[in-house]
Symmetry: C2
Subunit: 300 residues, 2 copies
Protein backbone atom coordinates (compact mmCIF):
# COMPACT_ATOMS: atom_id res chain seq x y z
CA UNK A 1 0.00 0.00 0.00
CA UNK A 2 1.01 3.60 -0.57
CA UNK A 3 1.03 4.92 2.98
CA UNK A 4 1.61 8.54 1.94
CA UNK A 5 -1.46 8.46 -0.25
CA UNK A 6 -3.44 6.71 2.49
CA UNK A 7 -2.49 9.37 5.03
CA UNK A 8 -3.35 12.15 2.57
CA UNK A 9 -6.77 10.67 1.79
CA UNK A 10 -7.68 10.23 5.45
CA UNK A 11 -6.37 13.68 6.32
CA UNK A 12 -8.60 15.17 3.66
CA UNK A 13 -11.68 13.44 5.06
CA UNK A 14 -10.91 14.81 8.53
CA UNK A 15 -10.12 18.30 7.25
CA UNK A 16 -13.40 18.51 5.37
CA UNK A 17 -15.39 17.28 8.37
CA UNK A 18 -13.69 19.74 10.73
CA UNK A 19 -14.15 22.59 8.26
CA UNK A 20 -17.83 21.77 7.84
CA UNK A 21 -18.42 21.55 11.61
CA UNK A 22 -17.15 25.09 12.20
CA UNK A 23 -18.49 26.49 8.94
CA UNK A 24 -22.06 25.98 10.08
CA UNK A 25 -21.54 28.52 12.88
CA UNK A 26 -20.71 31.24 10.40
CA UNK A 27 -23.35 30.71 7.75
CA UNK A 28 -26.47 29.38 9.48
CA UNK A 29 -28.96 31.01 11.78
CA UNK A 30 -26.13 30.74 14.31
CA UNK A 31 -24.57 33.64 12.40
CA UNK A 32 -24.72 36.07 15.28
CA UNK A 33 -24.16 33.42 17.88
CA UNK A 34 -20.41 32.96 17.58
CA UNK A 35 -17.99 35.90 17.62
CA UNK A 36 -16.07 35.90 14.29
CA UNK A 37 -12.75 36.48 16.10
CA UNK A 38 -13.27 33.28 18.08
CA UNK A 39 -13.98 31.30 14.92
CA UNK A 40 -10.87 32.78 13.30
CA UNK A 41 -8.65 31.84 16.24
CA UNK A 42 -10.02 28.29 16.24
CA UNK A 43 -9.61 28.04 12.48
CA UNK A 44 -6.04 29.31 12.67
CA UNK A 45 -4.98 26.55 15.03
CA UNK A 46 -7.12 23.80 13.58
CA UNK A 47 -5.87 24.34 10.02
CA UNK A 48 -2.21 25.14 10.40
CA UNK A 49 -0.80 21.92 9.01
CA UNK A 50 -1.74 19.38 11.64
CA UNK A 51 -0.83 15.86 10.56
CA UNK A 52 -4.10 14.42 11.92
CA UNK A 53 -2.21 11.38 13.21
CA UNK A 54 -4.69 10.73 16.07
CA UNK A 55 -7.87 10.82 13.96
CA UNK A 56 -6.17 8.78 11.23
CA UNK A 57 -5.23 6.09 13.78
CA UNK A 58 -8.83 6.21 15.00
CA UNK A 59 -10.26 5.67 11.52
CA UNK A 60 -7.64 3.00 10.67
CA UNK A 61 -8.48 1.00 13.79
CA UNK A 62 -12.21 1.38 13.04
CA UNK A 63 -11.84 0.13 9.49
CA UNK A 64 -9.38 -2.63 10.46
CA UNK A 65 -12.03 -4.31 12.61
CA UNK A 66 -14.69 -3.97 9.92
CA UNK A 67 -16.19 -0.59 10.77
CA UNK A 68 -17.73 1.11 7.75
CA UNK A 69 -19.50 4.39 7.10
CA UNK A 70 -19.20 7.81 8.64
CA UNK A 71 -20.14 7.28 12.25
CA UNK A 72 -16.46 7.27 13.28
CA UNK A 73 -15.93 10.79 11.87
CA UNK A 74 -17.36 12.81 14.81
CA UNK A 75 -15.05 10.92 17.17
CA UNK A 76 -12.01 11.30 14.94
CA UNK A 77 -12.71 15.05 14.65
CA UNK A 78 -13.40 15.46 18.37
CA UNK A 79 -10.05 13.84 19.19
CA UNK A 80 -8.27 16.26 16.83
CA UNK A 81 -10.16 19.19 18.42
CA UNK A 82 -9.03 18.06 21.89
CA UNK A 83 -5.45 17.66 20.64
CA UNK A 84 -5.57 21.15 19.08
CA UNK A 85 -6.97 22.79 22.23
CA UNK A 86 -4.12 21.21 24.20
CA UNK A 87 -1.55 22.68 21.80
CA UNK A 88 -3.08 26.17 22.01
CA UNK A 89 -2.97 26.11 25.81
CA UNK A 90 0.50 24.48 25.95
CA UNK A 91 1.93 27.19 23.70
CA UNK A 92 0.71 30.03 25.97
CA UNK A 93 3.35 32.27 27.57
CA UNK A 94 2.39 30.99 31.03
CA UNK A 95 3.07 27.40 29.96
CA UNK A 96 5.58 26.58 27.17
CA UNK A 97 5.72 30.09 25.67
CA UNK A 98 6.16 28.91 22.08
CA UNK A 99 5.99 31.38 19.19
CA UNK A 100 5.79 28.94 16.29
CA UNK A 101 4.09 25.65 15.60
CA UNK A 102 3.95 23.88 12.23
CA UNK A 103 5.70 26.85 10.66
CA UNK A 104 3.08 29.42 11.60
CA UNK A 105 2.85 31.75 14.58
CA UNK A 106 1.03 30.19 17.54
CA UNK A 107 -2.53 31.24 18.35
CA UNK A 108 -1.61 33.73 21.08
CA UNK A 109 1.00 35.40 18.84
CA UNK A 110 -1.75 36.20 16.34
CA UNK A 111 -4.88 36.57 18.48
CA UNK A 112 -3.53 37.36 21.95
CA UNK A 113 -3.61 35.34 25.13
CA UNK A 114 -7.22 35.97 26.16
CA UNK A 115 -8.71 34.79 22.89
CA UNK A 116 -6.32 31.82 22.79
CA UNK A 117 -7.38 30.62 26.23
CA UNK A 118 -11.01 30.91 25.13
CA UNK A 119 -10.40 29.31 21.72
CA UNK A 120 -8.90 26.33 23.55
CA UNK A 121 -11.84 26.19 25.96
CA UNK A 122 -14.22 26.42 23.02
CA UNK A 123 -12.52 23.62 21.07
CA UNK A 124 -12.56 21.30 24.08
CA UNK A 125 -16.24 21.97 24.73
CA UNK A 126 -17.24 21.63 21.06
CA UNK A 127 -15.46 18.26 20.95
CA UNK A 128 -17.89 16.93 23.54
CA UNK A 129 -20.81 18.66 21.84
CA UNK A 130 -19.94 16.94 18.57
CA UNK A 131 -19.59 13.49 20.13
CA UNK A 132 -22.85 13.73 22.07
CA UNK A 133 -25.15 14.19 19.11
CA UNK A 134 -27.55 11.28 19.80
CA UNK A 135 -27.17 8.69 16.99
CA UNK A 136 -30.71 7.32 17.40
CA UNK A 137 -29.52 3.89 16.33
CA UNK A 138 -29.60 2.06 19.64
CA UNK A 139 -25.85 2.58 20.09
CA UNK A 140 -26.23 5.29 22.73
CA UNK A 141 -24.65 3.24 25.53
CA UNK A 142 -21.53 2.65 23.43
CA UNK A 143 -21.34 6.34 22.48
CA UNK A 144 -21.46 7.28 26.16
CA UNK A 145 -18.69 4.76 26.88
CA UNK A 146 -16.51 6.30 24.14
CA UNK A 147 -17.11 9.86 25.40
CA UNK A 148 -16.20 8.67 28.89
CA UNK A 149 -13.00 7.03 27.65
CA UNK A 150 -11.94 10.13 25.70
CA UNK A 151 -12.67 12.39 28.71
CA UNK A 152 -10.65 10.06 30.90
CA UNK A 153 -7.66 10.12 28.53
CA UNK A 154 -7.81 13.93 28.28
CA UNK A 155 -8.57 14.82 31.90
CA UNK A 156 -6.69 15.11 35.16
CA UNK A 157 -5.63 11.44 35.19
CA UNK A 158 -4.66 11.66 31.50
CA UNK A 159 -3.35 14.43 29.28
CA UNK A 160 -3.88 17.35 31.69
CA UNK A 161 -2.16 15.40 34.48
CA UNK A 162 0.80 14.68 32.19
CA UNK A 163 1.09 18.31 31.23
CA UNK A 164 1.16 19.37 34.89
CA UNK A 165 3.98 16.93 35.74
CA UNK A 166 5.82 18.04 32.58
CA UNK A 167 5.93 21.70 33.61
CA UNK A 168 6.60 20.87 37.26
CA UNK A 169 9.59 18.73 36.25
CA UNK A 170 11.33 21.46 34.23
CA UNK A 171 14.85 22.01 35.52
CA UNK A 172 14.64 19.10 37.95
CA UNK A 173 16.47 15.79 38.00
CA UNK A 174 13.68 13.28 37.62
CA UNK A 175 13.57 9.50 37.54
CA UNK A 176 12.76 7.47 34.41
CA UNK A 177 9.48 6.69 36.20
CA UNK A 178 8.45 10.36 36.11
CA UNK A 179 9.56 10.69 32.47
CA UNK A 180 7.42 7.66 31.68
CA UNK A 181 4.46 9.24 33.50
CA UNK A 182 4.82 12.44 31.48
CA UNK A 183 5.06 10.66 28.12
CA UNK A 184 2.31 8.11 28.72
CA UNK A 185 -0.08 10.76 30.03
CA UNK A 186 0.69 13.92 28.08
CA UNK A 187 0.88 12.26 24.66
CA UNK A 188 0.33 8.53 25.09
CA UNK A 189 -3.13 8.52 26.65
CA UNK A 190 -4.92 10.27 23.78
CA UNK A 191 -3.09 8.29 21.07
CA UNK A 192 -3.92 5.00 22.83
CA UNK A 193 -7.54 6.12 23.20
CA UNK A 194 -7.82 7.18 19.55
CA UNK A 195 -7.12 3.59 18.53
CA UNK A 196 -9.34 2.05 21.22
CA UNK A 197 -12.28 4.31 20.28
CA UNK A 198 -11.95 3.35 16.61
CA UNK A 199 -11.77 -0.34 17.48
CA UNK A 200 -14.70 -0.21 19.92
CA UNK A 201 -16.98 1.68 17.55
CA UNK A 202 -15.99 -0.68 14.74
CA UNK A 203 -17.17 -3.61 16.87
CA UNK A 204 -13.83 -5.18 17.90
CA UNK A 205 -13.92 -8.22 20.17
CA UNK A 206 -12.03 -8.09 23.47
CA UNK A 207 -8.94 -9.88 22.15
CA UNK A 208 -8.60 -7.51 19.21
CA UNK A 209 -9.18 -4.52 21.49
CA UNK A 210 -6.39 -5.73 23.79
CA UNK A 211 -3.96 -6.16 20.89
CA UNK A 212 -4.83 -2.73 19.47
CA UNK A 213 -4.47 -1.17 22.93
CA UNK A 214 -0.96 -2.56 23.29
CA UNK A 215 -0.14 -1.37 19.77
CA UNK A 216 -1.44 2.09 20.74
CA UNK A 217 0.64 2.23 23.89
CA UNK A 218 3.87 1.41 22.05
CA UNK A 219 3.12 3.76 19.18
CA UNK A 220 2.17 6.58 21.58
CA UNK A 221 5.41 6.32 23.52
CA UNK A 222 7.49 6.00 20.33
CA UNK A 223 5.78 9.11 18.95
CA UNK A 224 6.82 11.19 21.95
CA UNK A 225 10.40 9.86 22.00
CA UNK A 226 10.73 10.71 18.30
CA UNK A 227 9.34 14.17 19.08
CA UNK A 228 11.98 14.60 21.76
CA UNK A 229 14.72 13.44 19.35
CA UNK A 230 13.56 15.88 16.66
CA UNK A 231 13.64 18.73 19.17
CA UNK A 232 17.39 18.04 19.44
CA UNK A 233 18.25 17.01 15.88
CA UNK A 234 15.62 18.60 13.67
CA UNK A 235 15.58 22.05 12.14
CA UNK A 236 12.93 24.76 11.90
CA UNK A 237 12.13 24.29 8.22
CA UNK A 238 11.61 20.55 8.73
CA UNK A 239 9.49 20.83 11.89
CA UNK A 240 7.88 24.22 11.57
CA UNK A 241 8.67 25.01 15.15
CA UNK A 242 11.68 26.11 17.13
CA UNK A 243 14.15 23.35 17.94
CA UNK A 244 16.43 22.97 20.91
CA UNK A 245 13.67 24.44 23.10
CA UNK A 246 13.53 21.42 25.40
CA UNK A 247 17.11 22.02 26.49
CA UNK A 248 16.54 25.76 26.95
CA UNK A 249 13.42 25.08 29.06
CA UNK A 250 15.17 22.23 30.87
CA UNK A 251 12.38 19.85 29.89
CA UNK A 252 12.58 16.25 30.97
CA UNK A 253 13.07 14.28 27.75
CA UNK A 254 14.08 10.84 26.64
CA UNK A 255 17.35 12.00 24.96
CA UNK A 256 18.06 14.17 28.01
CA UNK A 257 17.85 11.17 30.31
CA UNK A 258 19.24 8.40 28.11
CA UNK A 259 21.13 10.13 25.28
CA UNK A 260 20.29 10.37 21.56
CA UNK A 261 21.50 6.95 20.45
CA UNK A 262 19.70 5.10 23.20
CA UNK A 263 16.55 7.10 22.41
CA UNK A 264 16.66 6.20 18.72
CA UNK A 265 17.16 2.56 19.62
CA UNK A 266 14.23 2.70 22.04
CA UNK A 267 11.93 4.37 19.48
CA UNK A 268 12.74 1.72 16.87
CA UNK A 269 12.24 -1.05 19.41
CA UNK A 270 8.84 0.34 20.37
CA UNK A 271 7.72 0.54 16.74
CA UNK A 272 8.79 -3.08 16.21
CA UNK A 273 6.93 -4.11 19.35
CA UNK A 274 3.86 -2.19 18.20
CA UNK A 275 3.84 -4.04 14.90
CA UNK A 276 4.44 -7.32 16.71
CA UNK A 277 1.21 -6.67 18.69
CA UNK A 278 -0.62 -6.95 15.37
CA UNK A 279 1.04 -10.20 14.25
CA UNK A 280 -2.11 -12.32 14.52
CA UNK A 281 -3.97 -10.07 12.07
CA UNK A 282 -4.01 -9.99 8.28
CA UNK A 283 -3.83 -7.24 5.66
CA UNK A 284 -6.75 -5.41 7.30
CA UNK A 285 -4.26 -3.91 9.79
CA UNK A 286 -1.70 -2.96 7.11
CA UNK A 287 -2.45 0.74 7.53
CA UNK A 288 -1.74 0.49 11.27
CA UNK A 289 1.53 -1.34 10.52
CA UNK A 290 2.53 1.21 7.89
CA UNK A 291 1.66 4.18 10.09
CA UNK A 292 3.96 2.80 12.78
CA UNK A 293 6.86 2.43 10.32
CA UNK A 294 6.14 5.80 8.82
CA UNK A 295 6.18 7.38 12.26
CA UNK A 296 9.83 6.60 12.73
CA UNK A 297 10.65 8.44 9.52
CA UNK A 298 8.50 11.40 10.63
CA UNK A 299 8.34 12.82 7.16
CA UNK A 300 4.66 13.61 7.52
CA UNK B 1 -40.79 27.03 53.26
CA UNK B 2 -37.51 28.12 54.77
CA UNK B 3 -35.51 28.97 51.64
CA UNK B 4 -32.24 29.52 53.49
CA UNK B 5 -32.43 26.07 55.00
CA UNK B 6 -33.41 24.61 51.61
CA UNK B 7 -30.41 26.22 49.91
CA UNK B 8 -28.10 25.03 52.69
CA UNK B 9 -29.35 21.47 52.46
CA UNK B 10 -28.97 21.30 48.68
CA UNK B 11 -25.56 22.98 48.81
CA UNK B 12 -24.41 20.33 51.26
CA UNK B 13 -25.51 17.51 48.95
CA UNK B 14 -23.57 19.06 46.05
CA UNK B 15 -20.49 19.78 48.17
CA UNK B 16 -20.34 16.19 49.39
CA UNK B 17 -20.75 14.80 45.85
CA UNK B 18 -18.06 17.10 44.44
CA UNK B 19 -15.72 16.29 47.32
CA UNK B 20 -16.22 12.58 46.84
CA UNK B 21 -15.65 12.79 43.06
CA UNK B 22 -12.21 14.35 43.48
CA UNK B 23 -11.33 12.45 46.67
CA UNK B 24 -11.27 9.17 44.76
CA UNK B 25 -8.30 10.39 42.71
CA UNK B 26 -6.19 10.85 45.82
CA UNK B 27 -6.97 7.69 47.76
CA UNK B 28 -7.62 4.92 45.24
CA UNK B 29 -5.36 3.06 42.87
CA UNK B 30 -5.40 6.34 40.96
CA UNK B 31 -3.08 7.62 43.69
CA UNK B 32 -0.16 8.24 41.40
CA UNK B 33 -2.29 9.20 38.44
CA UNK B 34 -3.16 12.78 39.34
CA UNK B 35 -0.52 15.32 40.38
CA UNK B 36 -1.35 16.49 43.95
CA UNK B 37 -0.78 20.14 42.98
CA UNK B 38 -3.47 19.86 40.30
CA UNK B 39 -5.95 18.39 42.78
CA UNK B 40 -5.12 21.17 45.24
CA UNK B 41 -5.69 23.90 42.65
CA UNK B 42 -9.02 22.35 41.64
CA UNK B 43 -10.04 21.94 45.28
CA UNK B 44 -9.10 25.54 46.04
CA UNK B 45 -11.45 26.91 43.41
CA UNK B 46 -14.21 24.35 43.83
CA UNK B 47 -14.49 24.86 47.59
CA UNK B 48 -14.00 28.56 48.09
CA UNK B 49 -17.55 29.46 49.06
CA UNK B 50 -19.46 28.93 45.79
CA UNK B 51 -23.19 29.39 46.30
CA UNK B 52 -24.00 26.40 44.04
CA UNK B 53 -26.90 28.35 42.53
CA UNK B 54 -26.74 26.49 39.18
CA UNK B 55 -26.73 22.93 40.59
CA UNK B 56 -29.42 23.91 43.11
CA UNK B 57 -31.65 25.20 40.30
CA UNK B 58 -30.95 21.95 38.45
CA UNK B 59 -32.00 19.79 41.41
CA UNK B 60 -35.03 22.01 42.18
CA UNK B 61 -36.30 21.71 38.60
CA UNK B 62 -35.70 17.94 38.68
CA UNK B 63 -37.65 17.49 41.90
CA UNK B 64 -40.39 19.93 40.87
CA UNK B 65 -41.36 17.69 37.95
CA UNK B 66 -41.29 14.55 40.08
CA UNK B 67 -37.67 13.47 39.68
CA UNK B 68 -36.42 11.45 42.64
CA UNK B 69 -33.17 9.77 43.63
CA UNK B 70 -29.57 10.60 42.91
CA UNK B 71 -29.28 10.41 39.13
CA UNK B 72 -29.47 14.21 38.85
CA UNK B 73 -26.36 14.63 41.05
CA UNK B 74 -23.67 13.97 38.37
CA UNK B 75 -25.30 16.62 36.15
CA UNK B 76 -25.67 19.15 38.97
CA UNK B 77 -22.00 18.60 39.90
CA UNK B 78 -20.80 18.75 36.28
CA UNK B 79 -22.56 22.10 35.79
CA UNK B 80 -20.84 23.48 38.90
CA UNK B 81 -17.49 22.14 37.62
CA UNK B 82 -18.02 23.91 34.29
CA UNK B 83 -19.01 27.11 36.09
CA UNK B 84 -15.89 26.86 38.29
CA UNK B 85 -13.53 26.27 35.34
CA UNK B 86 -14.98 29.36 33.65
CA UNK B 87 -14.28 31.46 36.77
CA UNK B 88 -10.67 30.19 37.00
CA UNK B 89 -10.01 31.11 33.37
CA UNK B 90 -11.93 34.43 33.58
CA UNK B 91 -9.85 35.51 36.56
CA UNK B 92 -6.52 34.94 34.75
CA UNK B 93 -4.27 37.98 34.19
CA UNK B 94 -4.78 37.72 30.41
CA UNK B 95 -8.57 37.94 30.82
CA UNK B 96 -10.15 39.75 33.82
CA UNK B 97 -7.03 39.78 36.02
CA UNK B 98 -8.91 39.39 39.31
CA UNK B 99 -7.04 38.77 42.56
CA UNK B 100 -9.96 37.83 44.76
CA UNK B 101 -13.14 35.84 44.45
CA UNK B 102 -15.50 34.89 47.27
CA UNK B 103 -13.08 36.45 49.75
CA UNK B 104 -10.14 34.22 48.87
CA UNK B 105 -7.24 34.75 46.45
CA UNK B 106 -8.02 33.50 42.94
CA UNK B 107 -6.48 30.27 41.68
CA UNK B 108 -3.61 31.89 39.78
CA UNK B 109 -2.68 34.07 42.77
CA UNK B 110 -2.10 30.90 44.80
CA UNK B 111 -1.01 28.32 42.22
CA UNK B 112 0.31 30.41 39.33
CA UNK B 113 -1.04 30.87 35.83
CA UNK B 114 0.12 27.61 34.27
CA UNK B 115 -1.50 25.40 36.89
CA UNK B 116 -4.68 27.54 36.82
CA UNK B 117 -5.08 27.15 33.06
CA UNK B 118 -4.64 23.39 33.47
CA UNK B 119 -6.92 23.19 36.53
CA UNK B 120 -9.64 24.86 34.45
CA UNK B 121 -9.01 22.49 31.53
CA UNK B 122 -9.12 19.56 33.95
CA UNK B 123 -12.39 20.64 35.56
CA UNK B 124 -14.08 21.10 32.18
CA UNK B 125 -12.93 17.67 30.98
CA UNK B 126 -13.86 15.92 34.24
CA UNK B 127 -17.36 17.43 33.99
CA UNK B 128 -17.91 15.52 30.76
CA UNK B 129 -16.27 12.42 32.19
CA UNK B 130 -18.66 12.50 35.15
CA UNK B 131 -21.76 12.97 32.99
CA UNK B 132 -20.83 10.20 30.55
CA UNK B 133 -20.73 7.35 33.06
CA UNK B 134 -23.18 4.99 31.33
CA UNK B 135 -26.29 4.63 33.54
CA UNK B 136 -27.20 1.18 32.20
CA UNK B 137 -30.89 1.92 32.73
CA UNK B 138 -32.03 2.41 29.16
CA UNK B 139 -31.80 6.19 29.55
CA UNK B 140 -28.61 6.54 27.51
CA UNK B 141 -30.23 8.56 24.70
CA UNK B 142 -31.53 11.11 27.20
CA UNK B 143 -28.13 11.32 28.92
CA UNK B 144 -26.49 12.04 25.55
CA UNK B 145 -29.09 14.73 24.88
CA UNK B 146 -28.33 16.38 28.23
CA UNK B 147 -24.55 16.27 27.66
CA UNK B 148 -25.13 17.83 24.24
CA UNK B 149 -27.29 20.59 25.70
CA UNK B 150 -24.75 21.39 28.41
CA UNK B 151 -21.87 21.44 25.87
CA UNK B 152 -23.94 23.73 23.66
CA UNK B 153 -24.64 26.15 26.52
CA UNK B 154 -20.95 26.19 27.53
CA UNK B 155 -19.31 26.25 24.09
CA UNK B 156 -18.59 28.79 21.39
CA UNK B 157 -22.27 29.60 20.80
CA UNK B 158 -22.86 29.80 24.56
CA UNK B 159 -20.70 30.76 27.54
CA UNK B 160 -17.34 30.92 25.73
CA UNK B 161 -18.88 33.08 22.98
CA UNK B 162 -20.33 35.44 25.60
CA UNK B 163 -17.00 35.73 27.34
CA UNK B 164 -15.26 36.63 24.06
CA UNK B 165 -17.77 39.41 23.28
CA UNK B 166 -17.48 40.62 26.89
CA UNK B 167 -13.72 41.16 26.69
CA UNK B 168 -13.89 42.52 23.15
CA UNK B 169 -16.47 45.12 24.25
CA UNK B 170 -14.37 46.56 27.07
CA UNK B 171 -13.94 50.28 26.66
CA UNK B 172 -16.29 50.42 23.68
CA UNK B 173 -19.68 52.02 23.29
CA UNK B 174 -21.94 49.08 22.59
CA UNK B 175 -25.62 48.73 21.88
CA UNK B 176 -28.13 47.16 24.29
CA UNK B 177 -28.23 44.28 21.79
CA UNK B 178 -24.57 43.47 22.44
CA UNK B 179 -25.06 43.81 26.20
CA UNK B 180 -27.95 41.38 25.91
CA UNK B 181 -25.76 38.97 23.92
CA UNK B 182 -23.06 39.08 26.60
CA UNK B 183 -25.47 38.52 29.49
CA UNK B 184 -27.57 35.80 27.86
CA UNK B 185 -24.48 33.90 26.68
CA UNK B 186 -21.86 34.43 29.37
CA UNK B 187 -24.16 33.81 32.33
CA UNK B 188 -27.65 33.14 31.03
CA UNK B 189 -27.02 30.08 28.88
CA UNK B 190 -25.68 27.83 31.64
CA UNK B 191 -28.32 28.94 34.18
CA UNK B 192 -31.11 28.30 31.66
CA UNK B 193 -29.59 24.93 30.84
CA UNK B 194 -29.23 23.94 34.51
CA UNK B 195 -32.99 24.22 34.86
CA UNK B 196 -33.74 22.50 31.55
CA UNK B 197 -31.44 19.58 32.34
CA UNK B 198 -33.12 19.07 35.72
CA UNK B 199 -36.57 19.21 34.16
CA UNK B 200 -35.67 16.87 31.28
CA UNK B 201 -34.05 14.25 33.50
CA UNK B 202 -37.01 14.50 35.89
CA UNK B 203 -39.34 13.65 33.03
CA UNK B 204 -41.02 17.02 32.37
CA UNK B 205 -43.55 17.22 29.54
CA UNK B 206 -42.98 19.77 26.76
CA UNK B 207 -45.29 22.41 28.24
CA UNK B 208 -43.56 22.25 31.62
CA UNK B 209 -40.15 22.34 29.94
CA UNK B 210 -41.16 25.47 28.03
CA UNK B 211 -42.39 27.21 31.19
CA UNK B 212 -39.23 26.27 33.09
CA UNK B 213 -37.07 27.43 30.17
CA UNK B 214 -38.70 30.86 30.22
CA UNK B 215 -38.31 30.99 34.00
CA UNK B 216 -34.61 30.13 33.55
CA UNK B 217 -34.07 32.83 30.94
CA UNK B 218 -35.56 35.55 33.17
CA UNK B 219 -33.73 34.35 36.26
CA UNK B 220 -30.43 34.09 34.37
CA UNK B 221 -30.64 37.64 33.08
CA UNK B 222 -31.78 38.98 36.48
CA UNK B 223 -28.82 37.21 38.11
CA UNK B 224 -26.33 38.99 35.87
CA UNK B 225 -27.97 42.40 36.24
CA UNK B 226 -27.89 42.01 40.03
CA UNK B 227 -24.22 41.01 39.73
CA UNK B 228 -23.57 44.18 37.75
CA UNK B 229 -25.42 46.29 40.36
CA UNK B 230 -23.45 44.73 43.22
CA UNK B 231 -20.20 45.51 41.42
CA UNK B 232 -21.19 49.17 41.74
CA UNK B 233 -22.95 49.23 45.11
CA UNK B 234 -21.56 46.27 47.05
CA UNK B 235 -18.49 46.13 49.23
CA UNK B 236 -15.62 43.64 49.52
CA UNK B 237 -16.71 42.07 52.80
CA UNK B 238 -20.21 41.45 51.44
CA UNK B 239 -19.11 40.05 48.06
CA UNK B 240 -15.68 38.60 48.77
CA UNK B 241 -14.32 40.19 45.63
CA UNK B 242 -13.18 43.63 44.57
CA UNK B 243 -15.97 46.05 43.68
CA UNK B 244 -15.99 48.86 41.17
CA UNK B 245 -13.86 46.71 38.87
CA UNK B 246 -16.36 46.86 36.01
CA UNK B 247 -15.92 50.64 35.78
CA UNK B 248 -12.12 50.37 36.00
CA UNK B 249 -12.06 47.74 33.24
CA UNK B 250 -14.66 49.64 31.24
CA UNK B 251 -16.90 46.58 31.14
CA UNK B 252 -20.23 46.79 29.39
CA UNK B 253 -22.81 46.48 32.16
CA UNK B 254 -26.50 47.04 32.70
CA UNK B 255 -26.01 49.93 35.18
CA UNK B 256 -23.37 51.41 32.85
CA UNK B 257 -25.85 51.49 29.98
CA UNK B 258 -29.12 52.22 31.78
CA UNK B 259 -28.16 53.57 35.22
CA UNK B 260 -28.56 52.01 38.67
CA UNK B 261 -32.24 52.77 39.28
CA UNK B 262 -33.33 51.45 35.91
CA UNK B 263 -31.20 48.32 36.45
CA UNK B 264 -32.80 47.61 39.83
CA UNK B 265 -36.23 48.08 38.32
CA UNK B 266 -35.36 45.72 35.46
CA UNK B 267 -33.98 43.03 37.80
CA UNK B 268 -37.15 43.14 39.93
CA UNK B 269 -39.32 43.03 36.82
CA UNK B 270 -37.44 39.97 35.52
CA UNK B 271 -37.81 38.14 38.83
CA UNK B 272 -41.56 38.85 38.80
CA UNK B 273 -41.77 37.64 35.21
CA UNK B 274 -39.80 34.51 36.10
CA UNK B 275 -42.24 33.70 38.88
CA UNK B 276 -45.15 34.46 36.60
CA UNK B 277 -43.84 31.77 34.20
CA UNK B 278 -44.56 29.27 36.96
CA UNK B 279 -48.11 30.46 37.69
CA UNK B 280 -49.81 27.32 36.37
CA UNK B 281 -47.89 25.12 38.83
CA UNK B 282 -48.55 24.30 42.46
CA UNK B 283 -46.39 24.07 45.58
CA UNK B 284 -43.97 21.69 43.83
CA UNK B 285 -42.30 24.73 42.25
CA UNK B 286 -42.14 26.72 45.50
CA UNK B 287 -38.35 26.28 45.73
CA UNK B 288 -37.95 27.76 42.21
CA UNK B 289 -40.22 30.68 43.20
CA UNK B 290 -38.35 31.26 46.44
CA UNK B 291 -34.93 31.03 44.77
CA UNK B 292 -35.99 33.77 42.34
CA UNK B 293 -37.12 36.06 45.19
CA UNK B 294 -34.06 35.22 47.19
CA UNK B 295 -31.85 36.08 44.24
CA UNK B 296 -32.89 39.70 44.31
CA UNK B 297 -31.84 39.95 47.95
CA UNK B 298 -28.48 38.27 47.09
CA UNK B 299 -27.80 37.44 50.73
CA UNK B 300 -26.57 33.98 49.82
Amino acid sequence: MDIKQYLQEKKKIIDIALESYFLKFSIHEDQKEVPPSLLKAIHHSLFSGGKRIRPILCISAYEAVGGRGEKIIPFACAIEMIHTYSLIHDDLPAIDNDDYRRGVPTCHKVFGEALSILAGDGLLTEAFKLMSIPPNDGNEALILELIHEIANASGISGMVGGQVVDIESEGKEVSPLILNYIHTHKTGALIRTSIRVGAKLGGADQETLNAFTHYGEKVGLAFQIIDDILNVEGNFSQLGKSVGTDIVKKKVTFPGLFGLEESKKKAKELIELAIHCLSSFGPEVDPLREIAWFMISREY
